[in-house]
Symmetry: D2
Subunit: 397 residues, 4 copies
């Protein structure tokens, strides 16, 4: 059986993201050859009964109720942070200082200042061989990874247009309850940081360009929502009484902005348009990215996550958007799974994230995206909020 | 055979739009019952040989080389203006004052000031029973007309999101030649007025809301293009020498803006995002409109012009975007054509425009969209340009 | 204006097909350069008032109530037959013998024997410069014409699979009334001849192969339908009383068969599967054809008539079905219409049919499909009925 | 952690299906509450080194090289058979007689006679509380499970049409190597049993009707293929020398047949058309099923496995195929996974299969599909082969 050295993981937080991360830690070594063998060593949550029940279900070997205890344990090599954004900085910095590798959920932090401190800690730790990664898991969708490869290979030429939408609808129902994701003190922002951050990271990563400025508009459609005991969930279907006590939504429900990119080494810079909302009724998880270059175009929609659409102008007049099923052995990640045409699901992005993280740690190399990469996203988020606060005036990143 | 009184048309301009309008005038009475019988009486163009050849081909009974002559003729009841935007105001105002009905291509004019004068002239003429309409022909696509009907019927609830894209790619090739559409003095603006104006009109018309402010970004990707003798075309495939003399593009190649709507009588106002470009490689005529309400959503893409997608949240959990083939007898315009499922094409919008125009004139009623409606679009165009000129600062309409 | 010699048309029949043909005769010379100038000279129908009203509406110059009168007129050059199938043989043969060119709607006849006599008459007439064509108008859809060009150019390699579906649903409602299309004595067969014939012709034409044998199953779902006064229509929505007198449906409601092809000159022959039905609820006019070769595949669905899907295995591993918008100037027919991406509709097939017919007549050449081509389709129809009558036993064509 | 009694699994075979089953056994208890706790106790394969390496990778606790040894072990409760079809009968019958529950891959056997003996053994074992299931895993795709629920709920009315396609292309390349799946002595049949069997089971299961007769055509396109050492694989990309020794393909490459259904309790029986091929270039795993009823229609394509298309005629004239994202908490299986819109992948069908199997065993109830259900599929396969051998003559099942 595998003779790889163990990589003992302690995970903080165990809601939706915790389940996805647990599955990834369990599954990655079954389908990929890893230089280290992940162990689900300890799960940490504040409520002892709760964390104990979940740990058994998800396959964790022990539990803790204080994340500081995880850092003290000698049998933990890596801290996986799945908590709300307001706790990321403290946990991540302490973990790195304690010599633990860190995988931190996105957005990296709730402010640029926090993200800067985390990045400094990450860079210092990397000098000591302690690595960190931010969990922009959509990068690990095979279709988006293929998109990046195509751009890197020059198949698009210079990029002119980027359009990114992240459309969901789970808050469209006004009776959906209040959650921590709607509380700015916990989540930092609303649709902007929760889903818009994915679009920003994906757009920059696929194009190889950074956003240099934005003009933005934020909107909150529903200002109060019923309070339920559970503030950790994703919302759900809101079967609470009309007279339930109500909490105040303090984040954006929708974020829309235009952007300019820096053009990287070879082109003049693209223009972009972004939209993130959880009120686009009927759109369930439409994380979409389209890039138009001088030679070709790419389009992706997570609602068809196994497909990348590619238009090659050289095929004119018989050109057309090609629906590439990104399940061939030559495609990113795909060869380790099923035969051609047998698609993957949402959780595979997390499994691939573990693969890339463990591979980098095993090689003693900086994983990507680094905290520095995530800090750049954080700066875009801040510029969006800044522009929205000043009548959409252009805001440099 | 038909005993309806004739409606004698004189058309100015005969390029792409002229062919579409001619087809509409010929075809409308064959499929619809009209109160007046359109006659293709005279075609006007500056070049005598050119206009004579085209007139024969398109079925016009006589020709003129000066539009002023058309206005003097007693046997002309309506002037159809298909020329570049810089000529609209002069021709339209003179025609109305000469007692001729007017159909004027969009955008109405090249400035708000011109559009205001045209609107005044139109309103004065209407008092005398002389009517005018602006050619926002996409309103006559059955799927968009059904979209409006559904919004009017309250099926969407209050509207929260509008996203409109108009994506083409015929200028993506840098060797595509210079045309009047790229010369600001003739066209007023570039993608903004040419195609963005359609999106603005459609978004306002379908939602029943007006845009109250915008924040915009304009971009020109290709600053010079080869000059050919022909400046009237749509561009084409650019087989001109590399050393051809070059003309300067003075308009936007892409226009991107965010917007707020006034909410009409019953809701709080939607947020919108608009993009118009002729550089989205692979998108041929993707005039798209999506509207998300509190009860339902609608989505349209002209590249599938016979389909309207409709999501009704009341069908949850088995809800999904419904691909409505807008070819049922109950659907707008559709019952006058073919059996169910036998789709219509681009030119049908112009035919339906003639139907609606002639029907209104026959009834002595103001056709829609009026010049006043088109003026409102013009104000949005101006606000977009104003915002873009001031670092995307929010601009009221 | 045009100096081409006139081609004076007399049309028999004026229901749905008559309107489509009239539009085509009127429109073809406006968009295409034709060697002869079509004139809508006379329309023939049995009911004098009816034909007179329709003739005025559709633009015909005179009327007749007996088709034999049309043949006697010196001012008629071509007879366009839009009547039910049981009348085709008599009219077409008489017309050809009277020296008139003939355009005959499909299926060519109601029996192989009739079709053989018509083919003999056509071949004899062609010797005298009098030509004939059968109206398989789907061949003139630009996307299917491009499909044929691609096969002819060898881009598919050898063909292995053909799958053809023609799915409609307008008879799914059991209260839809009886029409001549459901009366075997008039229509010859049901879905088989009405829509299956299109699939058979398109499959053979695109692949360049002929069907050599079939195994078939026919089914009638609704055996009686309400009688209304109007037996000429397409059915409609059946708002007739439950106690209306009922007529017996004597044709197939659905036809399903497997087939083998002859492989043409260069390959081993493909296998095919065909389905034609007017009971596929939700499918409005899904005339679909897919062809899989050794090098590439093609797929078409009339519900997206402006698109041809093309898969080129040479692009592997990044191959995918390419949605070709068949609106480029280089595409069949498309250059005579609108700019790229501005799609065509159902009636354009008929306009293109007129273009090809008039072009061939003008050149003194046999138009395609000839009556001989249509006879081959008729033989397939007969083999299908023969197989279905003998427990699906294989039937050679 | 979980206190459920263990269910100790021994699996025979470990190629593609073995990896999928292993993942399912590992994953099911992490996302679902099961009455028994599956243990990956022993993996059996003929090659000691091979099975040992795989067992470690996939998480199995021990290995065997003779499946008979598995049956003798007291610590095995269930035998999971993932070997070629020619071994199913012997292993399954012996396992049942040894008191082990059995999960057997499809098709159940290589002949009706074998399947009948297996069914007898299964029914005898069930009397003793020892249960068996056949692995028609597509039943566990949430979208197909929702399709069945909708039919069962009467939402389709009486069913008229079934069309089922299973299109792949991995054998289209003539240089793809010989495998056991192309050797009739091992696999029983080709595309028919490998993928057509899934279509047959799904069509019967979703409609609740059984196929009563068929007319069929089988075709082999490529008669010889290069031999490589590895006959267990799926084919792959054929980079073997042109002069490699070649093996004879003894199975069908494509199977096409028409069918009639028994109509169940309430309707008159549907007609069906089926096609299974691994030569449909560009179709990767297009397992498609469409059902047209008198009230509604359903369509599914595994290439978009998270979507079920549903057309409800009651919504006319605004009816249209609704793309239901089958990821709502109310949908089959979906509530145990991710938020709405976060799709599942191919392997989830196997995980759900384990869930249903373990749930039934825990409850002491017969799992579905039983061997008797699979025997019925086997009879259809035999009828298809019988009809194809007799010139497509109708063959009763």
């Amino acid at each position: 059986m595998t003779t790889a050295k163990p990589l003992r993981v302690g995970m903080v937080g165990y809601a939706f993201m915790g389940a996805a991360h647990s599955h990834a830690w369990r599954t990655a070594p079954r389908f990929f050859d890893l230089p280290l063998d992940p162990q689900l060593t300890a799960l940490c949550g504040r409520n002892d009964d709760g964390v104990r029940a979940v740990a058994g279900k998800l396959g964790w070997g022990s539990v803790e109720t204080d994340w500081r205890r995880l850092l003290e344990r000698d049998d933990i090599d890596l801290i996986d942070i799945c908590t709300p954004g307001n706790t990321h900085a403290e946990i991540a910095i302490a973990a790195l200082e304690a010599g633990k590798h860190v995988l931190c959920e996105k957005p990296l932090a709730n402010s640029v200042a926090e993200a800067e401190r985390m990045t400094e800690a990450a860079q210092a730790a990397a000098q000591r061989g302690v690595f960190s990664m931010c969990g922009f898991s959509y990068r690990r969708t095979p279709a988006l990874a293929l998109a990046k490869r195509m751009v890197d290979d020059g198949r698009l030429g210079n990029i002119r247009h980027v359009r990114a939408q992240y459309l969901q609808d789970w808050l469209s129902d006004e009776t959906a309850p209040m959650t921590w994701r709607l509380d700015k003190s916990k989540s930092g922002s609303g649709s902007l940081g929760d889903i818009g951050a994915h679009s920003i990271d994906a757009a920059q990563w696929v194009t190889g360009q950074q956003i240099t400025g934005v003009s933005a508009l934020l909107e909150t459609f529903v200002h109060e929502r019923p309070l339920t005991g559970d503030l950790v969930g994703l919302g759900g279907h809101g079967d609470v009484g009309a007279d339930a006590p109500r909490g105040t939504v303090t984040v954006d429900d929708a974020a829309i902005f235009t952007a300019r990119f820096d053009g990287g080494a070879t082109s003049a810079g693209a223009v972009g348009v972004f939209e993130a909302t959880r009120f686009a009724l009927g759109r369930k998880n439409a994380m979409r990215l389209e890039v138009n270059g001088t030679k070709a175009s790419l389009a992706f929609d997570f609602e068809e996550m196994n497909v990348l659409s590619f238009y090659d102008a050289a095929e004119s007049p018989d050109a057309g958007f090609r629906r590439i099923f990104v399940t061939e052995p030559e495609h990113p990640y795909a060869g380790n799974w099923w035969p051609t045409g047998h698609g993957l699901g949402y959780e595979h992005g997390f499994t691939h994230q573990v693969v890339d993280l463990v591979t980098a740690i095993g090689a003693g190399e900086q994983p990507s995206p680094s905290f520095a990469d995530a800090l750049q996203v954080q700066k875009v988020l801040a510029a969006v909020e800044g522009s929205a606060a000043e009548s959409s005036r252009w805001q440099k990143v």
